[in-house]
């Protein structure tokens, strides 16, 4: 044993020595070898003795000691083992081991004596508990079962606790291996205790993979933990493995099937198949395959999401088919919320709740509820309807007799878990009565009834609080609370008073308990008509005298239902005078007036309403009206739906005020309605459904004294003013050149629809077809507007108009309600004659004045004019050359014969410029006096033409050839201005047509005429004309005349004047040589023509 100890210890030293270094190890190894050698030498002397004693125990009660037999020991050797320091107990054994009772702690000397034929060989050992090993027996699995539905293994084994002498802790180690290659998937320890008895232990384990997917094996070993045992304790050996496997049939299957799991958890699916699986997917998501034994495969899903109602499909696809399973991922039931328990009838308790979060599990996986009452120990289960839509979660619990306090626990459970909610209720305080039924009403009198109803429930121990709702068609809703002692399933009866007679009431009832929890729902309505009573008041009366003043018409209003107290059958009308009453007539109900023939005495008229029960108090009114002289008619406008009338307080008025009104367009007696207001009132709002906007009403306020009425105020008014409906009818009374007088008529009251506030008159210029006033309010500048607010004004004169102009007139009336329609008219103003006259006279006068002034000026300047424009032509008579003998023409003093005095020929010099269009400024009228005769000679020959010229002479019948030498000395110089008046030049024909006009001096203008025949004819005509003419045959003078064809040939633009000349001066006017005469500048017009005939005039 010592050797054993040495052998045990030295390695540990060696282990320690390794820490010191290689050198130290070597020294120790050498020393050990030396010691071993020495020991061997010692033992060799004892060769043949037992050695290496070793003891173990598995139950702490018996030590099983063994030793090594000597090499020479054979069969039949007997060993005697003795424990020396005890009671020297010895045990003989033919084997090399023996069992000895467990020794007490401490060293014990053990001798093993080998008994054989030749002597004894004794070996001595020192044995201590510390040298004993505790190794439990190998445990044995009693049973290993598998729950495939939950993938759970159930292990069962016996702890064999009976072998141990006392209470011990035992540690079990269990290993789980999977697949054929025995992969350890789980190694767990399980602590138990042994207490001296054999005990069967159970242990379960749930696999993350369905057990069907692969073979699972389980092994177990144990370890006894004894704190009092000082020896060495070791694990037992592993038990033999137990296997669990699923026996697959030929069909391919996928596991787990129809499993319900929590959302978010991980799960493994496997497909047990003989076919090759190609792919796997959950829903639409493909998953990687995990290969198991054979063709089996698995997939692992992490954090699975919530499933639809029909679950999540997991499929494995093979070549030909798809196999799958369905998984239901959901939630455990939420804690039931708002759990409430109440009763309707104190017979049955209704508990309702809200399930909270949906579990996403339906059908058989849905949550089931159980309502458990702890005091009674009773429970009810929730039965789910098939279609859970709008499901109401409620359970009914039958009440227990004499139990008021209930402690309910509602348990919710589904495959994923459970939850619960509790409530403690005093059920008498949680009464929610049912609807009262069978409502009945009975009369007590005209103002009270009894009301009964039925209310199911065991309310015998509580009081009910009921509410009666009373409705009438006219009055407001009334609620009355009544407290009634509860009874068992019976009817309840209450009296309802303070009702009105002959009134239809609608009753309905709801109830609760005195310890209020909830009102029941309202019962059905029950209508009831109370009985009649005598009318409480007399009718509201009024009276009017007829238009002829002979009859008094009594009006009264039907009594309201709350005052009639029944159906009014008739009215009694009576009158009294001086306390003498006379019943006049009885009027049946539908009629509400009576006409009485009364004199002018002041009667008191009484009206009484009667129903089936009796008559009302009389309503009295005086027949005569109290006069009032101080009465004014006022105006008022209402508020759309009524009109407010106010008055001052009058203490003399002892009875009610009466306001009467009528439509103002109606004839007398005018009465639409009346209203009585208390005598202390000072205002009243008159409202009526008959009021219409735009209609004028008359309101009369009467004060009342001793049943006699006095008219206090008369008011005309409108509820609402509107715009006039018609335009004022207007005519034009007078029209002048600058004004129009317009006259219009009043608009009838019915069409005015408001108080007239004025007229608007528009006018503008315009014709009927073209003008139309548009946008009268737009402020057009061309439209003139007159606002006539003086309502008495019926005419309007529009002044400042234009004569003979069409005007468009528009007239419209307006009220506060708006503008009325317009009426238009077109009027044309008259012509302005004075202006016309003035327009004529002024030009005439101006012309006359101008003429007179001109005449005066001409007269005053006649000498200058004459000298300037019409100089004296030398009288041939003064020419001595032409002086005729007096004897010849004696007696004709003005006519003097041509005297053959030496005649100074008049020379006309025409200055001609070559310019074709001479300017007027260049024209110069020269004095007839030849001031610059020298210059004319200096002028170029083509610029001026010198024409011989002779003053006109009186045509003489016998020309004298000798007159050619005679002539005056006057000389005229002409400047050619033909171009200036060339358009007035007349052709030769015109001159021919006016031969007489050409008498006297006139320029002998000749326009170029191409036709020679015309020239000839002209010559013939000239012969017939008066005045100067050539004194010789023109044929012999052809070269002199500028109008000869040759002259036109020479220069067509420069036409020279012909110069008629007196016969006497003819020879001087026309030069003898045509070749040298300047050519005329064309057919111009000489200014001298203007005055040519003046002297003759």
């Amino acid at each position: 044993m010592m050797n054993f100890s040495l052998r045990l210890r030295r390695p540990s030293w060696m282990v320690d020595s390794k820490r010191m270094g290689m050198t130290t190890d070597f020294q120790w190894l050498l020393l050990t070898c030396i010691l071993l050698y020495l020991m061997n030498q010692v033992n060799s002397q004892k060769r043949g003795a037992p050695r290496d004693l070793k003891c173990i125990t598995n139950n702490l009660q018996v030590w099983d000691c063994s030793w090594k037999a000597p090499s020479g020991a054979g069969h039949g050797t007997v060993y005697e083992v003795c424990i020396e320091n005890r009671s020297h107990s010895c045990y003989q054994s033919e084997k090399t081991n023996t069992q000895i009772p467990a020794l007490l702690p401490g060293d014990h000397e053990i001798t093993i004596n080998r008994l054989y034929d030749f002597g004894n060989l004794i070996s001595k050992f020192t044995l201590n508990e510390k040298n004993v090993s505790l190794i439990p027996d190998t445990p044995e699995i009693l049973n290993l079962s598998a729950d495939f539905s939950t993938s759970t293994l159930h292990l069962k084994w016996n702890d064999r606790g009976s072998v141990f002498p006392y209470h011990l802790n035992v540690i079990w180690e269990i290993k789980i291996l999977r697949k054929e290659n025995m992969e350890i998937v789980k190694l767990v320890t399980h602590n138990t205790t042994v207490n001296g008895k054999d005990t069967v232990h159970h242990w379960s384990w749930t696999s993350d993979m369905p057990l069907e997917c692969a073979t699972h094996s389980v092994g177990i070993r144990c370890y006894v933990d004894d704190p009092h045992f000082s020896g060495h304790t070791e694990w037992s050996d592993w038990s033999p493995l137990k296997n669990v496997s699923w026996s697959p049939d030929s069909q391919t299957k996928v596991f787990p099937q129809d499993k319900v799991i929590l959302v978010g958890s991980d799960i493994t699916f496997c497909c047990v198949t003989q076919e090759k699986v190609l792919s796997a997917q959950i829903g639409q998501t493909n998953c990687p395959l995990i290969h198991l034994d054979g063709e089996n495969v698995a997939i692992k899903i992490h954090n699975i999401s919530v499933s639809a109602n029909s679950g999540t499909n997991v499929v494995f696809t093979t070549e030909d088919n798809i196999f799958g399973t369905v998984i239901f991922a959901g939630y455990p039931p939420d804690i039931p919320q708002k759990l409430n328990c109440e009763t309707c009838d104190l017979k049955e308790i209704v508990c309702t709740w809200n399930p909270g979060r949906p579990t996403a599990l339906v059908g058989p996986r849905n949550t089931s509820y159980t309502l458990f009452e702890s005091f009674s120990g009773k429970y009810v289960r929730f039965k789910r309807v098939e279609a859970p839509t709008n499901e109401s979660y409620q359970l009914f619990f039958q009440m227990r007799p004499n139990q008021e306090i209930y402690n309910f626990t509602l348990n919710a459970r589904n495959p994923l878990g459970r939850s619960e909610s509790t409530i403690l209720v005093n059920i008498t305080e949680k009464v929610y009565p049912r609807i009262p039924t069978s409502i009945r009403v009975k009369d007590i009198n005209s103002t009270a009834v009894t009301l009964s109803w039925h209310l199911p429930g065991n309310f015998g121990k509580i009081k009910l609080l009921c509410q009666i709702e009373i409705n009438t068609t006219n009055s407001v809703q009334e609620l009355r609370n009544v407290t009634i002692k509860g009874v068992e399933n019976s009817s309840y009866l209450v009296a309802v008073d303070k009702l009105n007679p002959y009134t239809i009431y609608t009753f309905r009832i709801r109830c609760s308990t005195e310890t209020f929890w909830k009102w029941s729902k309202w019962s059905n309505e029950k209508k009831y008509l109370t009985t009649e009573a005598i009318p409480s008041k007399g009718p509201d009366t009024w009276r009017e005298w007829s238009s002829d003043g002979k009859n008094l018409i009594i009006y009264w209003k039907p009594l309201p239902i709350n005052e009639a107290n029944g159906k009014i059958l008739s009215y009694n009308v009576s009158c009294s005078l001086d306390e003498e009453t006379q019943s006049l007539s009885e009027i049946p109900d539908p009629q509400h007036k009576a006409e009485l023939q009364l004199d002018k005495n002041d009667y008191i008229i009484s009206v009484v309403a009667k129903n089936s029960v009796g008559s009302s108090p009389p309503s009295k009114i005086a027949s005569m009206e109290i006069p009032n002289d101080d009465l004014k008619v006022e105006q008022a406008v209402g508020m759309g739906n009524g009109i407010l009338l106010t008055w001052n307080y009058d203490p003399n008025m002892t009875c009610d005020y009466v306001i009467k009104w009528c439509n103002s367009s109606r004839s007398e007696p005018c009465l639409m309605d009346w209203k009585k207001v208390p005598s202390n009132s000072t205002e009243a709002v008159i409202e009526s459904d008959q009021f219409r906007p735009g209609v004028r009403y008359n309101f009369f306020l009467y004060g009342c004294r001793n049943q006699g009425y006095q008219l206090l105020r008369s008011i005309i008014g409108y509820i609402e003013e509107l715009a006039p409906i018609v335009a004022p009818n207007f005519t034009v009374e007078d029209t002048s050149a600058d004004s129009i007088l317009v006259k219009w008529e009043d608009i009838p009251v019915e069409e005015l629809r408001g108080f007239l506030r004025g007229y608007l008159f528009y006018f503008e210029k315009g014709e009927r077809d073209t003008s139309k006033i548009r946008g009268l309010e737009s402020g057009r500048s061309d439209i003139k507007v007159k606002n006539i607010t003086d309502l008495s004004q019926k005419t309007l004169r529009i002044a400042d108009l234009q004569g003979k102009t069409s005007y468009h007139l528009v007239l419209r009336a307006y009220t506060d309600g708006g503008m009325g329609p317009e009426k238009s008219m077109f009027v044309v103003t008259k012509e302005n004659s004075v202006g016309l006259i003035i327009a004529i006279l002024i030009p005439v006068a101006v012309a006359v004045i101008v003429g007179v002034v001109t005449s005066i000026l001409c007269y005053r300047k006649r000498e200058w004019i004459k000298e300037t424009f019409y100089p004296d032509i030398p009288n041939p008579e003064n020419c001595k050359a032409l002086q005729f003998q007096k004897s010849v023409c004696e007696g004709n003093s003005p006519l003097k014969t041509l005297e053959m005095n030496p005649c100074t020929p008049n020379n006309v010099e025409v200055l001609e410029t070559r310019s074709t269009v001479p300017k007027i400024e260049d024209t110069e009228i020269m004095s007839p006096v030849a001031e610059r005769p020298e210059e004319s000679s200096d002028a170029e020959p083509e610029n001026h033409v010198v024409v011989s010229y002779c003053p006109p002479v009186i045509e003489e019948e016998t020309p004298t050839p000798g007159a050619d030498e005679a002539g005056g000395t006057s000389q005229v110089v002409y400047i050619d201005i033909q171009s200036m008046y060339q358009p007035q030049a007349k052709p030769e024909e015109d001159q021919d047509n006016d031969p007489v006009g050409g008498a006297g001096y006139k320029p002998q203008m000749h326009l170029p005429v191409p036709a020679a025949v015309g020239d000839l004819a002209a010559e013939d005509d000239l012969d017939k004309t008066a005045g100067y003419r050539p004194q010789a045959n023109v044929n012999t003078w052809s070269l002199v005349s500028p109008d000869s064809p040759r002259s036109t040939d020479s220069n067509s633009e420069t036409v020279s004047f012909g110069s008629p000349c007196s016969i006497n001066s003819r020879q001087f006017l026309i030069p003898p040589k045509d070749e040298d005469s300047p050519k005329s500048n064309g057919g111009g017009w000489s200014f001298t023509n203007f005055f040519q005939n003046k002297p003759n005039d």
């Binding site: 639409q284 499929v315 696809t317 369905v326 339906v362």
Partner: protein, 202 residues
């Protein structure tokens, strides 16, 4: 009457369609008594044709509604999950005599009626909120019941056949949910296929 229809008729149908009703029964002999509970309509074949047309018209919609309600991957794997692989489905020969065709139609409708009952039951548990699917299944089952009655009337009146042996499909009550889904889908796929042929044949 409604109570009778709601209570008795399903009971009779259940008894009549119970799974594994036994070996096929022979057609009633010609001389056997043939009586119907109610007088048959005069124009039975017209009604049968109309009912077949009605079923044919709604079969595809029912099929789509069904596989849609089963979730993925049913709609995308119709060939493998909903293929008409119903092995024990009664045969139909469109070119047979009217009597043969009516007898075969009777067997088919009886088979389909029982299967539809299973499907309806399963779907009410599995898809309690799929009300349109339930409605369609019920409507189809109703038409099938009428059609079955009319066919039987016709067989009885004209051919004196009072009873036809029928076979039913597998009961799905013990199967897992996926099998129920798959078998239902296969059955409805087969139904859609067969009813078109049958409607054409009549």
């Amino acid at each position: 009457m409604k109570v009778l229809a709601a209570g008795v008729v399903p009971l009779l149908l259940v008894l009549h369609w119970k799974h594994g009703a036994g070996s096929p029964l022979p057609i009633t002999p010609v001389n056997a008594t043939c009586a119907t509970r109610h007088p048959c309509h005069s124009n039975l074949m017209h009604q049968i044709r109309n009912q077949l047309a009605q079923l044919n018209g709604s079969a595809n919609a029912l099929f789509i509604l069904y596989y849609t309600a089963q979730g993925e991957p049913f709609p995308n794997n119709l060939d493998k999950l909903c293929g008409p692989n119903v092995t024990d489905f009664p045969p139909f020969h469109a070119n047979g005599t009217e009597k043969t065709r009516l007898v075969e139609l009777y067997r088919i409708i009886a088979y389909l009626g029982a299967s539809l009952g299973n499907i309806t039951r399963d779907q009410k548990v599995l898809n309690p909120n799929a009300l349109s699917l339930h409605s369609k299944l019920n409507a189809t089952a109703d038409i099938m019941r009428g059609l079955l009655s009319n066919v039987l009337c016709r067989l009885c009146n004209k051919y004196h056949v009072a009873h036809v042996d029928v076979a039913y499909g597998p009961d799905t009550s013990g199967k897992d949910v996926f099998q129920k889904k798959k078998l239902g889908c296969q059955l409805l796929g087969k139904y859609k296929q067969v009813i078109a042929v049958v409607a054409q044949a009549f």
